[in-house]
């Protein structure tokens, strides 16, 4: 836990504008030269409910939300209920303050809106006593009053930001610039007044007795603050994706929205359709016609895509599908992350699955692997899935702008032109041999034609078929076609091993004989825990795996042979990734202990450190956090 960091939590009701306030504050911190990381927590409700956003800012790279936090801005819930509702739901106004105290670090700072909450309610919280115990510094400020004085009550967020800046010794210039960019003239002026008033008021009214100040940092180059969902969308755009079809479902909706908002400007098509079966089928139809196309959804919606997904496998239609996991089963916890859909995306749809699945671990990987997904889908004519979750989709991080300065890749992969079709094999009635086993093609791919091309006619069918696409049940043809489709995965694995930097991320002490393994969005917390363990005198190495299918057999065998024991960290209850390792490698079961979390919140680094310690201890001690240690089961 670094001392030189700020973790600012702004809490209020959903609908209180916390997202935009925190986004601007995070940008201001980024512009001041700090690295930032945001984490958003919200209930599945439009109005009210306990919501917060955390911004972690430090001079060096931050890759997780960290443990706990050290500055609370409790805005009060403006959608607090009327007397009837309060009788059932309790007093919501106080919740931004009361619900957030448990995770506040020692010595932390609390600002709450004394113009909003009742002092009596505050007294009931024993705030004074708890502050004393924990060394907290409490600043009650009438944010609502400040806002009303110059403008409207909703502007109390701005007052809160002014107070924050003042208490942290932070200049207002970046905040002001950002407000100027974001706000229309009419509301800009009162907001600026509120910002300054709040800033000055606290420094006049209070004697600052806290130590926390905004850290100082410096960037070598210009940065952009963006989310995992942005990164996926931008990866798709740069891969030449110009067709997206979807149906809203949290948390997939973010990617769908970003792409829908951009598609018409870049010559593409976005379609919101009647259901997810249609969405996936549209993506298939567009790809079949020759567009780079995608669709996606979250758990339940993705379940509806099962059959079109199988059709893509059978017809070898390139397609990229995005699956944004949220806690299941069924509607589950709609706005909370979980890594429970791994087995689902690997195997859903009938028959042997032949698909590629990547699980990016952070925002840069989300971009890279989405691009790679399109490349592989179109080169190998195979559905490729990006599986991520609410955590990665919703969190924001700064990335150097230069990261995105690269060539787009609009290639259609293994697709023939009309000139090439003239040379290709056809059958007696002029059908192009679209599904021909070609011993000369090293990748096992038979190039495709597109409807409307001269001389490329073929039938795509979900039934087993002959080279020209004709429905065919002959056993020999069946075996040839099955093997041709399945072999592509081996070729993709070879290409991933040879042509690309590994999609797996390694960290920690290379010589360690204890390994921590994770996948996807748990990466940040695990990497931080490994760093902390090594700093604390332990010797641990870590790996975050992104290639779910085809599985990185060589890399994982090497890693597991190099350690005596390993802990697999993942957000689900049935140790799905551990199961995948055992299935794919057929051994190492006795080395693999699991650390599992499925309470709806992502891992914090300290929970992983504790899990490691308890595992080494081997005693009966229970973890203090809501996690579960699942001992090694053997093979």
């Amino acid at each position: 836990m670094s001392d030189n960091e700020l973790i600012w939590r702004v809490a209020g009701g959903s609908g209180d504008g916390i997202d935009s306030t925190s986004q601007n504050f995070a940008k201001a911190l980024m512009r001041s030269g700090l690295d930032v990381f945001t984490h958003r927590h919200y209930p599945s409700r439009i109005r009210g409910g306990h919501t917060y956003v955390e911004i972690r800012a430090a001079p060096e790279e931050v890759q997780s939300r960290g443990d706990g936090y050290n500055f609370l801005l409790a805005l009060g819930d403006s959608f607090a209920r009327n007397a009837d509702e309060a009788a059932v739901y309790g007093n919501e106004e106080i919740k931004p303050l009361s619900e957030n105290l448990d995770e506040l670090r020692e010595g932390g700072v609390i600002v709450y809106d004394s113009g909003f909450v009742d002092e009596e309610d505050v007294a009931e919280l024993n705030l004074e006593e708890r502050a004393e115990e924990n060394g907290w510094h409490v600043y009650p400020v009438d944010l609502r009053g400040l806002a009303k004085e110059h403008g409207r009550e909703v502007m109390r967020n701005t007052a809160g930001v002014g107070v924050t800046a003042s208490l942290l010794g932070m200049e207002l210039d970046h905040i002001e610039e950002l407000m100027e960019d974001a706000m229309p003239e009419k509301i800009l002026e009162p907001n600026i007044e509120i910002l300054h008033d709040a800033y000055e008021l606290v420094s006049e009214e209070f004697e600052f007795d806290h130590e926390l100040r905004v850290p100082e940092g410096d960037h070598d180059e210009e940065q952009a603050l963006l989310s995992g969902s942005n990164a996926i969308a931008y990866g798709a755009i740069d891969a030449g994706c110009r067709f997206i079809a979807g149906y809203p479902m949290t948390p997939w909706t973010d990617v769908f929205t970003i792409l829908s908002q951009n598609m018409s400007d870049i010559g593409g098509i976005a379609e919101q359709v009647e259901d997810e079966i249609a969405a996936a089928a549209l993506a298939l139809g567009a790809s079949h016609a020759g567009a780079k196309a995608m669709s996606g959804s979250s758990g339940g919606g993705f379940a509806l895509m099962s059959e079109p997904l199988g059709l893509a496998e059978m017809t070898e239609t390139p397609i990229v599908l995005i699956e944004a996991m949220r806690a299941g089963p069924s509607t589950g916890l709609p706005t909370k992350p979980e890594q429970g859909d791994l087995e689902f995306v690997l195997y859903t749809s009938q028959g042997d699955s032949s698909r590629v699945v990547f699980a990016p671990g952070d925002i840069e990987e989300a971009y890279e692997q989405t691009r790679l997904a399109f490349h592989i889908a179109y080169e190998y004519q195979i559905p490729t899935i990006i599986v991520y979750d609410q955590k990665l989709g919703g969190e924001n991080k700064n990335v150097p702008v230069s990261f995105f300065d690269r060539e787009p890749d609009p290639s259609l992969g293994s697709t023939l032109t009309e000139a090439e079709l003239e040379e290709a094999a056809h059958d007696a009635s002029g059908k192009f041999h679209r599904f021909q086993h070609d011993p000369d093609n090293d990748a096992g791919v038979s190039p495709r034609s597109l409807p409307g091309q001269k001389g490329g006619r073929f039938l795509a069918t979900g039934n087993e078929h002959s080279p020209g696409g004709h429905i065919e049940e002959d056993p020999t043809n069946r075996v040839i076609q099955m093997e041709r489709r399945m072999e592509k995965l081996e070729h993709i694995r070879e290409a991933l091993d040879e042509d690309h930097p590994s999609n797996q991320t390694y960290y920690g002490d290379e010589t360690a004989d204890y390994g921590i393994i994770t996948w996807g969005s748990s990466h940040g917390a695990v990497a931080e825990a490994v760093e902390r363990l090594n700093e604390g005198g332990h010797s641990v190495k870590g790996v975050t795996v992104s290639d779910m299918m085809p599985f990185p057999e060589t890399e994982m065998t090497e890693f597991l042979e190099s350690v005596d024991e390993a802990m697999v960290v993942e957000m689900n209850a049935s140790a799905q990734f551990r199961g995948l390792i055992q299935k794919e490698l057929g051994r190492f079961g006795e080395k693999l202990t699991s650390l599992l979390k499925y309470n709806g919140n992502p891992f914090e680094p300290a929970e992983i450190v504790e899990g490691y310690e308890l595992h080494l201890d081997g005693g009966d001690a229970e973890p203090t956090a809501q996690v579960r240690i699942e001992p090694a089961a053997g093979d």
């Binding site: 020759g290 196309a293 795509a460 979900g462």
Partner: protein, 310 residues
Amino acid sequence: MSAFNAIGESREIDRDEFTPGLEPQPTWCPGCGDFSVLKALKQALPEVGKSPDEVLTVTGIGCSGKLNSYLETYGFHTIHGRSLPVARAAKLANPGLEVIAAGGDGDGYGIGGNHFIHTARENHDMTYIVFNNEVFGLTKGQTSPTSPKGHKSKTQPTGSAKSPLRPLSLALTSGASYIARTAAVNPNQAKEIIKEAIEHDGFAHVDFLTQCPTWNKDARQYVPYVDIQESDDYEFDRTDRQEAAEMMYETESALYEGTVLTGRYYVDDRPTYAEEKIATGEMTDTPIVEQYFDDDREWERSYDLLDRHK
């Protein structure tokens, strides 16, 4: 220059070009109404100047879904009920294609019913032929959404308690802009209606009565039939939604009383979905598929979208 030169090519097109060499003879049962749809298409396509390489036939699953195995065009034999979403996306991506979707009554009015409603609503410029044999053919004769009330099958042993769905009326309320019914026993009308449907700009729905002698025990042959345009008994204006609706209702009811009414029921020249999308600025008029073959195209990059994140 286009990368899709089969599209709009002007040349003499022979009917035989639409007969595949590999399986020229369909495996439908003797006397099956599906033959008539195939025949009507083989006649209609050359007459409207379409060649096999510029037509994409998208089918569902069922006996009817085999259509594109026996019709030599680009084909996509999809999954049960999903021909329409596949077909309409192909049309959006490459508007030059002549897109024809086809499937059974179970496929289109049952499992794919939601897509039928929405594709009609959006008025995609394509033709949709439903092989309506009032039964599930391929799965051996179960009751379908258009089976008459009381229809007995292995899965409805005491006779269906459900009233049949009204396909023409459903197409009308959903937004289809060309609606017709024809029958296998009326080849000339069938061909003409299919030609009109193909040439219509918008979603053209053809409910094609195709008898299934194998499973429909009553062995309906849809004779005698009446062409409502030719008969003096039926006067209505098919550009008038109200009158069309009444005529459809009467037609649908009459079928179950033994009178087979066929003909054109509705036509409307409202803009197609693509036209609407271009008008709102949601889509440009350059086909997206052509962009991938344009070596001079400057591809937009996310790098140019980053201002909002700085």
